[in-house]
């Protein structure tokens, strides 16, 4: 596969342009990312400013999506919420990638006791109920974005470790790895030069999927009060606060919910598309 990679780049690009779910997913993801980035320099209003005299206003020219129970601009909160959502899930995936992939590669390269220990440790983390752990982390270290990142990140580690282990193990029996061994290369070098490049596409696809799961997890954590704290807006907390206002202003519950659905869908479509494009074997099966 790696041999066909380089000349295949252009063909890949062409196929990508003809792949509807990849295009849709990429477009949605880009829009969400652009909205998040834009919020750093501009939002219609300051999402942290309360104006209680203007609370619960319906959508208007000044407030496109209306105002919330404290008179804050909902659109501005959604835009800032995208930053929270993206930042938390990106860092959480980063933690998973940074720790999980090396661990998985190590387990595959060493096998034996080290490999066994790494994989057992993975099972161990997996066995703990995630939300309960997140709550206890909050109680020990205090709530906040960092905590949400760590809580989600921890559970990403075993995912990437297993993926890397599973992908690397068969590669170690392949001819080009054997050849490298005969040439006297060490385990670390082989991993870097031969194993890692050959499983990169798998890792990228998985990272996209974990990113979308991260957005869902961040929303759930901040819904139960474990994520970023006010005044920083977050979609999950907006939903929590909207719960008793459903009869008065249903849009307060609909808008953040739809923001989550659209973002997660975008990332999932992107992930599916990438899988089709990067791994033709899997694509054929679908």
């Amino acid at each position: 596969m790696s041999a066909t990679m380089a000349p295949g780049r252009r063909r890949l690009a062409i196929r990508a342009l003809g792949h509807p779910s990849f295009l849709l997913g990429a477009a949605i993801s880009l829009v969400v990312a652009a909205m998040a980035l834009l919020s750093f320099v501009w939002t219609p209003h300051d999402p942290t400013v309360l104006d209680i005299a203007r609370k619960l206003q319906p959508p208007s020219a000044t407030h496109w999506l209306g105002t919330d129970q404290y008179g804050r601009d909902v659109l501005s909160m959604i835009m800032h919420g995208a930053v929270t959502s993206m930042a938390v899930s990106f860092v959480a995936v980063g933690i998973g990638l940074g720790l999980g992939v090396p661990l998985g590669l190590l387990a595959a390269a060493q096998r034996g006791l080290v490999g066994e220990a790494v994989m057992r440790a993975n099972d161990f983390v997996f066995a703990f109920p995630a939300l309960i752990i997140a709550i206890m982390l909050r109680d020990i270290f205090g709530p906040g974005a960092v905590n949400a990142m760590v809580a989600i990140g921890i559970f990403n580690v075993p995912v990437f470790a297993r993926l890397a282990y599973g992908a690397a193990l068969p590669l170690w029996t392949r001819e080009f790895v054997m050849a490298a061994r005969v040439a006297g290369k060490g385990g670390g070098l082989i991993t870097l030069e031969h194993i890692l490049p050959n499983m990169l596409s798998l890792v990228i696809v998985q990272a996209t999927i974990q990113l979308s799961l991260g957005v869902l997890a961040e929303a759930a954590l901040s819904y139960v009060g474990l994520g970023v704290q006010p005044p920083a807006p977050s979609w999950g907390r907006m939903l929590n606060e909207a719960q008793t206002l459903m009869a008065l202003a249903p849009r307060l519950a609909l808008v953040p919910g739809l923001a989550i659905v659209v973002t997660v869908m975008g990332l999932n479509l992107l992930g599916d598309g990438l899988r089709d494009l990067l791994d033709p074997r899997l694509a054929r099966e679908r």
Binding site: D139, A219, M246, E285
Partner: protein
Amino acid sequence: MLVYLAKRLASLAATLVIASLVIFAVMEVLPGDPAEIMLGTNARPDTLAALRADFGLDRPAPERYAAWVAGFVQGDLGRSYTYSVPVGELVAQRLWVSLPLAAISLLLTVLIAVPVGALAATRRNGPADVGIMAATQVGIAVPNFWFAMLLVFVFAVSLRLLPAGGFPGWGAGLWPAGRSLILPAVALALPQASILARVMRSSLIDALGEDYVRTARAKGLSRSEVVRRHALRNALIPVLTIMGLQFSFLLAGTIIIENVFFLPGLGRLVFQAITQRDLIVVKSIVMLLVASVVIVNFLVEVAYAAVDPRLRRRA
């Protein structure tokens, strides 16, 4: 095989011991005092000390750890600080909510996913398939607690057809109890059904491509007959595997939904116990959950190893 089994058993025991140590240690560093929670802001230091002694919290940590583990092994999970009833009893009560809820939502999942997935597979790339696949994309992306909020608003607050939350207990009758599980089960089932429908679709497509299906077709069986008699049965194997995973997810992953609907299930019990610092309940339930996952994993691996001797060498 015996050597393999001994090694795996040792590793299982080590995992459980480490887990119990980790859980116990986390409970120790968790800030907050169960006696303070119980007695409130006017409590005097001597009263707090008396209650702590009553809970057995005045003894040194190693002694408490040993007592907890010894009790746990004998099936005695301790006595809840808050409710002052045995933890085992609490867990059993709560399982009568959590297990039926998981079972109903899994049933709904299967009832939706299998026909829908099969339809998509047999109409591959047709409008029905495209529509179903799009719908499942949405289903996977919907946060279940948000879906739960919408369900409550529509079916409980607006139409007043179903209760918005709470659980009257099975003593109130099958229907009054059952109807309060309908909305939570639907909320849990939607994303799971979307996942399962996709699995069903792709495994049926695979099965339809197998040789024996082609042979059967060649023998003159109609397409729908082939699907029903041959392909479906084979396609269900991966579906069953995923269902197994989903059931354990539904059991442990219902904390938020149980909180949205105020169901007195296991997840809500743990949630409440953490906030009230009913630490004995928290550590015993977390240990139970961890132990059940670890032991099931162990059994599955042993079963695989029994079938496939090559796997034994790995350990």
